[in-house]
Amino acid sequence: MHLYNLTLQPASSISTAILGHFSGTKAQELVVARNQRLELWQANTTTGKLSVEHSEDIFCRIRGLASFRVTGGSKDYIVLGADTGAACLMEYDPKNRRFSVVQYHEFGRTGLRRLIAGQYVATDPKGRAFMIGAVERSKLVYVVTRDAEARLAFGSPLEASKAHTICFDIVGVDVGYENPVFAALESVYDDGNSDEGDVPGKQVVYYELDLGLNHVVRKWSATAPATANKLIALPGGDDGPSGVLVCSEGAIGYYSPTAASSEELSVAIPRRTGQDDDRQVLIVAHAVHRMKNAFFILAQGEAGDLYKVIVEYTEEAATKLGITYFDSIPPASCLRILRAGFLFAASADSGSHRLFQFENLGVESEPVNQPTLSLRELSSLILVDEVEGLCPILRSQVLNLAEEDTPQVYALCGRAAQSALRIVRHGLEVSELAVSELPGTPQAVWAVRRQGEFDDLIVVGFRDATLVLGVAEDVAEVTDSGLLATEPTLALSACDAGGLVQATPRVLRRVHTDGRAAEWQPPRDLRITHASLNARQAVAALGEQAVVFELDAMGELRERAEALDAGSEIVCIGLPAVPEGRRGASFVAVGCADSTVRVFALGTAGEPELAAMQAVADAPASVALVQTPLGLMLFVGLRSGLLVRARVDEVTGELSDPRTRFLGARAVQLRPVTVRGGAGVVALTTQPWLCHAHQGRLRTIPLSYDALDDACAFASPQSPEGLVSVAAGTLRIVSVDRLDAAFNHASIPLSLTPREFLLHPESRHFAIIESEHGSANKPNQQPPEQFGLVRQGAGRWSSVLRVVNPFDGESTQTVEFTDNWAAVSMAHVSFVGHDERYVAVGCVCSMTMRPRACESASIRIYRWNAEGTQLDFVHETPVDEIPQALLSFAGMLVVGLGRTLRLYDLGIRQLLKKAQTL
C-alpha cells in the first residue's frame, strides 16, 4: 500500500516578503515566502488588486529573504535563507515562469540548527555582498561579482563568526560606496568557563567587509538596551545619515559610529491608554521607503499600531529622533511600501494579507514624542485589497451541512480579534453584481455589442419568444434592435461587418446597422435544429447536414454551395471565434447523436472535410472549440455530466490527449468566455465550472454559485470579464474577482481565540469555546476588528462559550466566564440512562503556563435544549487538576486529570466518580 498525498491548499501564512524588480521590468513585484513555497505577487497599481503570478514549492523551509541588485544591474535577485545549510542566490525567470538557482554553495548540514547559518540574511544596499547568519555564532559573508559571461557569481565565504554569541538580527548598513558594513544585534553569553569580569550585555556590532584585503573585521560596537530585538538600517551615502535604529521594548534608539551620544537619539514608543497592563511596546515589523531627498520609516508595534519615525540628520549622523502615531491596522509579520504608494501588510497569524493605499504621509497635527497615543480611525491609509488566509487553523471538521456536491471544511481559524469560524469550499468566489426577475422561464441568454467596447444588449431566449434588453443606466426592453422577438433564438452573435446575426428555427436572420434585415430560410419544410455563429461565419444544422455561411464583401452571409455532411444526426455545433487576422475559423466541431464528436476542416471553399472523430461515453449535449493560450482545445459536455477535453492540432485538426472529468449530475452546457485575456470555457451543470489556462496549465475549477441554466460572457465597465446568466427565472450578472484561490471562505467572526467546537447533528449548530490569555474583548472601549483586544496582563483570562448557527452566522447563545475562569476542553457525552445529549466543558481558574498549574478547576455539564440551539447549564463538579482531555466512553465521561484518568457518571447535583487509574 502506498500513501499518496495531494496538497489541496498550501500554507497561506506569509512569514516574510521582499520588494524588487524580479522580472527585470519596471513594475515592482513582491516575492513572498509561504512556508515551503516561494511566490511572485503583483499589485495592480490601477485597480489595487493583488494577484499571484507564480507559485513554486522549493522544498525547504524558508527562514529569510533578501533582495539583491548588483550595482548597475537591471533586475533584483533573491538571497534565500532556509534550512538547507547552503547559500543560495536565486532569480525569477519570467519566460519559463519559474524560480531558478543562480548559484548554490553548501557550508553546513540541513535542518533548523542553531549553529548553521540560514536564519538571518542581509544584503549590502549597493549590491556587493550579502551575509547569512545563524542564531548562534556563525556569520558568513559572500562577495558577489560578475563572471566572464556577465552572470552573477559569489566566491568562497568569509567567516565573521564569534563563539558564544547569540544573534538577534542582522541588517546591511547603507554606507554608500565605502566598504560594505553589516550590523548585528548580538549578545555574548557566559558559558561558565570564563571567570574574568563581566560579560558584555547586548551590543550592536558593525562587521566591515574589507573588499581590498578580502576579510571581515569587527569594526565597531556599542551597548544596546537589554531588551533590543530589531535593527532598522537607515539610508546612507548621499541619501541619509547611515547608521541603524535599534528597536527595544518601549524605545527606539539611533546608533552609529559617528553619532554623538545624546538624549535626543532615543525615543520612547507611545503606548495605548486604557489597557490594564503596563507592558512596553515591542516593534514587530517595519518598512523603510526612500523618496527623492527624503525617507519614510514605519514601524508597527505588537498591538498593530503603526508609528512614523522622523529622523533629523546632518551629513555625519542623525541628530534627533521623533516618533508619532500613524494609524492602527491588524498586526503584520512583514510590512513593505510600494513605490506606487501602497503598503503591503502580510500576516503570519492574523488571517488576511492586506494592501493599503497611502492617503497622506501622516496627519500634520499629530503630536511628536508623546508617551501615550489615542486610537482613532484610519486617516492615512485606505484598505484596497484583502487576501484571506486560514492561518492559524486550530480545529477543523469536514462536513456536508449545506448538502452540496462536495463537503465543506468547517475550520476554527485566527486568534484574538481576527478569530473566525470559516466555512471553506472548493471553488472560486463569485460576486453577484445584479439580479433581476424575468417573466416566464428563460432558457438561454446572450450578450452582444453593437458598438463600443462594452456589451449593450442582453438577449434572453424563452421557449417560444425572445426578449431583447438594452444595457444602459438600467436594463430595459429594446424593441428596435431588428431581432425577431416572436420566435425562440438558437444562437446570436455580433457581426464583423456591423449588425447582428440571429438564428431561429425558422430562419437565419442578418440584421444590419441601418435596420435592414436579410433572412435565409431552409429548403422545403426543414427547420434549423442547432446553430453556431461567430463574427464572420455561421453553421446551421438541418438534421444530418449543416449549411455553412460566410461573410462576403458586401457584409451579407453567403451560403456555401456544399453542405457539411455529418453522417449522423447533429445534436450540437461548436464554431470557434475567428482567430486574429484571419477571415474565418478553420475548424468546426459537431456533436452527433451516435455519441461521437467530429471535427471538420472548413477550408476556403468546397465541402468541409472530416478531420477527426472522437467517440465519447454518452450523447454530447454541447461542444466548443476554443483557442486557449495553451493551444486549440476541444471541449465536449455530455448528457451524463462528463466533460471531455482534447487538444486539436491547429494544422491537421487531429485530436490528441483526451481527458474526461465528471462535473455534475446534469447535462453539461458549454459557453466560451475570456478569463484574464485568455479564452476559456464555462461548463454549466449542477454548479458552474470554469476551465481556463492558469499559471501555465489548464485547470477546471468549480465556481461557488447556484446552478445556472445558461450563461454568456458579458463585458461591462464594472466588470470587463463578467458573466450574464439565467437561473431559476432570474437574470444574474456575476463576476469572478479572484482567480488565485481555489478555495473560498465564508467567515463568521468570533470574539476570542477559539479552542474547540462540536456539532449538534440535528439543528446543525456549533458549540464553540473561546479563551484568551492576557486580553479581553471590550467592544465599547475599542472595536476589535481594527484595534484588537484590550490587554489585561499576564495571568488574566477571558473566555466564552458560544452556540452559533453556521448558515446565518448568528450566535444563538453566548455564555461568558467571569472571575478569571476559562474553558479549556469540550466534548459531547451520552450518559447511560439519559436520552438527551450533554456537553461537558472543562474549566480552570487562573491558569498559569509555566509551571502549568491552576488555582481551581471544574467540569461543567450542559444539556442541549430540544431544538438544539441553546445549552442549559446542569451542574459544576470541582476537580483538582486541569481537565484538558474529555471523552465520552461507555455511557460515561472519561477525564484526563494530571497523570490519572477518571471515569465519571452523571449525578443529580454533580458528576460521580466511578473509576480512576492509579
Binding site: S13, S15, N35, R61, R63, D83, L112, R113, R114, L115, Q119, V135, E136, R137, A163, I166, F168, S187, Y189, D190, D191, G192, T227, N229, K230, E249, L282, I283, V284, E302, P331, S333, A348, D349, C391, P392, L394, R415, A416, T753, E772, H773, G774, S775, M849
Partner: protein
C-alpha cells in the same frame, strides 16, 4: 591525566561542534545545550513559534525575543564545581 591536554584535536572538535560531550560533561552543560538547541529551534520554526504564541496569547516576535533572551542562560548559572572536578580543571 588531563584528557583535554593530551588530545588537542579532540579539543578543537569540541570547540567547533558546540554541544559535543564526553564522559566528564556535567549535567548542567548537557542540559544547557539541550535547552539552547530547543529554544533556537522554536525561534527558527515559524509553526512552532506561532503555536506557542497562540497558547500564551502573545505576538510571535515577543515569543522569539523571549526565547533568544533565555538562550543566554537557560538553566541558570553554572553550579560551583565539586572538589573532584576542581582537581581536573
Amino acid at each position: 591525566m588531563d584528557k583535554f591536554g593530551m588530545h588537542s584535536q579532540t579539543e578543537q572538535l569540541f570547540a567547533r561542534h558546540v554541544g559535543t560531550g564526553n564522559a566528564d560533561t556535567t549535567r548542567h552543560t548537557w542540559m544547557t545545550n539541550q535547552h539552547r538547541d530547543t529554544l533556537s529551534h522554536i525561534v527558527a520554526d515559524n509553526s512552532l513559534a506561532t503555536y506557542i504564541a497562540i497558547a500564551e496569547g502573545e505576538s510571535v516576535e515577543r515569543i522569539r525575543l523571549n526565547m533568544l533572551q533565555r538562550m543566554r542562560s537557560p538553566c541558570g548559572p553554572k553550579p560551583k564545581a565539586s572538589k573532584v572536578e576542581a582537581e581536573d580543571e
